[in-house]
Amino acid sequence: MTEPGQTPDVVSVSDRLAAEALIVDVDGFEGPLDVLLMLSRTQKVDLRHISILALAEQYLAFVEKARELRIELAADYLVMAAWLAFLKSRLLLPPDPSDDGPSADELAAHLAYQLERLEAMRDVAAKLMARDQRGRDFFVRGIGEDVAAVRRVTYTATLLDLMQAYARLRTRDEFRPYTLDRDKLLTMEQALHRLRRMIGFAGDWTDIMSYLPDGWGGDPAMRRSATASTFAASLELVKEGRIDIRQSDTFAPIHIRRRRDD
């Protein structure tokens, strides 16, 4: 076998044959590390004592062979080839003391470690698959008895829930006037809507009270509400510049008219 120190560029016949054999089923390999591991077996030594230099040469021969046979190798195989070529040259040259990167020996050692680790993983993977397996060697209960879930519902409430519920009940009456008196209220929106439609006809000063809707002048509560909202609506229209408003004296009638464009 090729040993480090021997003329490195001469690749032995066996290496060439090995490379050729590998090429045949390159598709069967799981990447460059896999190929390296396979090649390393031809050295017939423990991975810890493998010659990385020889291995690099074997690999380069493999890639060379692929090129001869015009077999396209995936990029990572070529990257590995380039790296191994670099490693090989580093291993052959005397170490450069000015280089502070990892030494060639360190790089080679790491590659050996990677190979050893991969082989170890393959080993244990095989051991794992050789174990007794469920459904093949041992079996689970065939007639499982389902555990029936018995649902029990409990109800919960807090003191706060209780108090809030009671508060809700007890305060409901206090609010009844609001909802009940809704129909005795003329909202400002309603008054404004009404006033907008009517103001176009008010060329002359007119008492604002004449704008109250029919039927709102009698009942005091309704009258109060309608007066207030109509007055508020008139102020809004003044603000918009649609009408003028005047009151001759305190508590005197309030008059409005359409603003004139003069």
Binding site: F139, V140, R141, G142, I143, E145, D146, V147, A148, A149, V150, R151, R152, V153, T154, Y155, T156, A157, T158, L159, L160, D161, L162, M163, Q164, A165, Y166, A167, R168, L169, R170, T171, R172, D173, E174, F175, P177, Y178
Partner: protein, 235 residues
């Protein structure tokens, strides 16, 4: 160990090869018992003796093995039982309760229930008609049943009014659940308002603090005096 038929001049008539083979191969009975055990355990269906025979080594006697196994499981947590023409391992009948798992689901009490409960707590003893009057809607039988079942309310004395209607009162369990020493510890309306639990403000012009005596039945004792808000329930 056992007599070999070849020593017996009587054989070789009909059972022939079969018998011979079984004698060579049949495993010890203890082993056969293990086999029956494993087969019954793993099978998805009850297994007939015929099927066991088919699966066990030649010469096995599953019926005998089964009898041993049955005996072994007597009084155990599981038993070997006959299902029609076949056999299966099943849970001992007295342990069926283990095959259920209680899933406790906690739900919030419905609004109707919590309101009814509140009225009973604040007004007890109170009749159904009175509850309905306060809630303004009828109270369903289910709501009262639920509260009775929770052991939060129970029947009190009958009212001495016409018809002698039953009344409802809260239970010690209710007090326990809500962390109250007695029903009198329930906070009053004023307390609720002070605690910010009444986000609704009374309309202007109505007494803000007042004795909340808007003419509704005799609760003076519930709301008449300031009562401290009870401590949070002890957990």
């Amino acid at each position: 160990m056992t007599d070999r038929p070849e020593d017996d001049p009587e054989t070789g008539t009909g059972a022939g090869a079969e018998t011979e083979q079984s004698l060579f191969e049949a495993p010890p009975m203890a082993e056969q018992e293990r086999m029956v055990e494993a087969i019954l355990f793993a099978s998805a269906e009850p297994v007939s003796l015929r099927e066991m025979t088919g699966r066990m080594p030649h010469g096995s006697e599953p019926a005998t093995a089964l009898a041993h196994l049955r005996k072994r499981y007597e009084g155990r947590g599981v038993q070997v039982v006959r299902v029609g023409e076949a056999w299966a391992i099943r849970t001992a009948p007295d342990l069926g309760f283990l095959m259920t798992r209680e899933v406790v689901e906690t739900r919030k009490l419905s609004r109707a229930a919590i309101e009814t409960l509140a009225i009973i707590a604040y007004h007890q003893p109170v009749t159904r008609a009175e509850i309905e009057e306060i809630r303004g809607v009828s109270v369903s039988r289910g709501t009262l049943d639920q509260l009775l079942e929770l052991d939060w309310i129970r029947f009190g004395r009958r009212k001495m009014t016409p018809g002698r209607p039953v009344t409802f009162i809260v239970t010690p369990n209710f007090l326990d659940h809500f962390g109250l020493e007695s029903a009198r510890d329930l906070p009053g309306l004023k307390d609720l308002r002070a605690a910010g639990l009444l986000d609704n403000r009374p309309p202007p012009g109505e007494p803000e603090e007042g004795e909340d005596d808007d003419g509704e039945a005799s609760q003076d004792d519930m709301f008449g005096e300031d009562r401290p808000v009870p401590e949070a329930p002890p957990d």
